[in-house]
Symmetry: C2
Amino acid sequence: MNNSLAEKLVSRSAGICLYGFAPPKQATPSERLEAIVAQQLVRLRSLPVDGLIVYDIQDEAERISAPRPFPFLPTLPPEVYAYEHLGSLEVPKIVYRCVNRDTPDGFVRWLDCENGGPRISVLVGAPSRHSQVGLRLTDAYALARQHSSNLLLGGIAIAERHGRTLDEHHRILAKTEKGCRFFVTQAVYDVTSTKSLLSDYALALDETGGVPLPIILTFSPCGSEKTLSFMKWLGIAFPRWLENDLQFARDPLAKSLELCERIFAEVRDYAGDKGIPLGVNVESVSIRKEEIEASMELLRLLRRRVER
Amino acid sequence: MNNSLAEKLVSRSAGICLYGFAPPKQATPSERLEAIVAQQLVRLRSLPVDGLIVYDIQDEAERISAPRPFPFLPTLPPEVYAYEHLGSLEVPKIVYRCVNRDTPDGFVRWLDCENGGPRISVLVGAPSRHSQVGLRLTDAYALARQHSSNLLLGGIAIAERHGRTLDEHHRILAKTEKGCRFFVTQAVYDVTSTKSLLSDYALALDETGGVPLPIILTFSPCGSEKTLSFMKWLGIAFPRWLENDLQFARDPLAKSLELCERIFAEVRDYAGDKGIPLGVNVESVSIRKEEIEASMELLRLLRRRVER
């Protein structure tokens, strides 16, 4: 049961369904933290998912000159939150790890504590070429192979980067070489760059005779100007018309769910034609109650579509 | 009957259906020209259209540094081809005029010969800011108002430009002020910039209380690498995935028709929500027989969708 996500990933199943979130802030007082955990356990227990993603949040201030719309506050380590605080949840967890803050020794220690069972992680590199790098992603993959052969690795795939440089499929293939078995995108509002990435990925596999790995598309409700500007700050692309439609919608949150559903249906049909197994990951970048609840509704909506 | 297109344009009808083409080359020997005209009369007579567009082809070499994939050869004047060679066709004609090659006097003479009846024209400005300009578009509109009040004027609208500068809707509104009653796009393969233009146009009209004018979307089959590269040279944007799908299709021409139909359906639904009357114009940028025939098939396919 606990292994089913790993099995689905390794067997390159389509239709994997995940829910993603960041751990609470490190500075959360312990009573408040207990309340958050209790509430999250209730919410997450009822979610029809194959697994949870626990993000590792970094500042990313080097990536972009615009000021961060929300302040950056360090969170609890995702593995601590996933395995300890949410330890009673049986559902498999995918733990993110930003390796550019690691030293080789620190990363190996993290790998050791990851050795407890058949665990799944996504390693994330530096947010920009200008970032200070402790451990390079390439070196982290090598250390993971060497020290933690049980760890099932995934990578991130950024369609927006592909829209600019048309080489994200090469990054996917290089990460595959280094051991990644699946890929997770950031929130998809730009259907064009997402289809373009899948297209170039499929063509590259045709050339090399490779098999397509699961691509997990992330979807995230956007119910306010503030959330929109934060998502844009995070590097999520919004086509002009879609941004207009969100901004002028009577109910932006409902509109964003409708748009996410349509985008997913379009990309699903496209990926299906190319033989790429698609999955979904739903998250809320906002901590507003109504946006979190909308993300859970979105998960149910997309789950229905993913199963078709 | 001959007026029905003008009436539809002025009453801002949705679903106007046009077919566009360039006149034969000026250097065509007269016997060959007769044969071309005879063949075109047969083809065009059977077309279920509200009107024909006869383009005015300019070199456009200043617009782009890349070499033109097909050589530029001057054509017969579009008004001569439309009203003389194709004079026996009762269907209304929209004659294009590139005014940057005009002098004020020359343009007024052209307007005079346009005074014969309730005629329709689209005035086109310089292909680039770096072009040598004889007559500015603004001055041409003023001369048209002064000398030819019967002339029904349309303008061009370039969604790709909107994708870059987000101001094409301002150009549409400015041209509307100067007398344009409808707009024709270049070939649409980029659904995103097209929807974005319509979105910003609708929002601007909401603000100013203006009424939406007919936007005629041009569609053009693309059945070969050469046609693709020519269309790209002309400034038509192809999303990466779509270009891949065309290039690797077993039957690129059929694929391009399928894509055009889907794009039209998506934009039609979007424009419908915004209350913008949409029409179609089908053309072939290629003179290959099979691409011309595909354009006529596309016209029939889109006509069916436009009437829904």
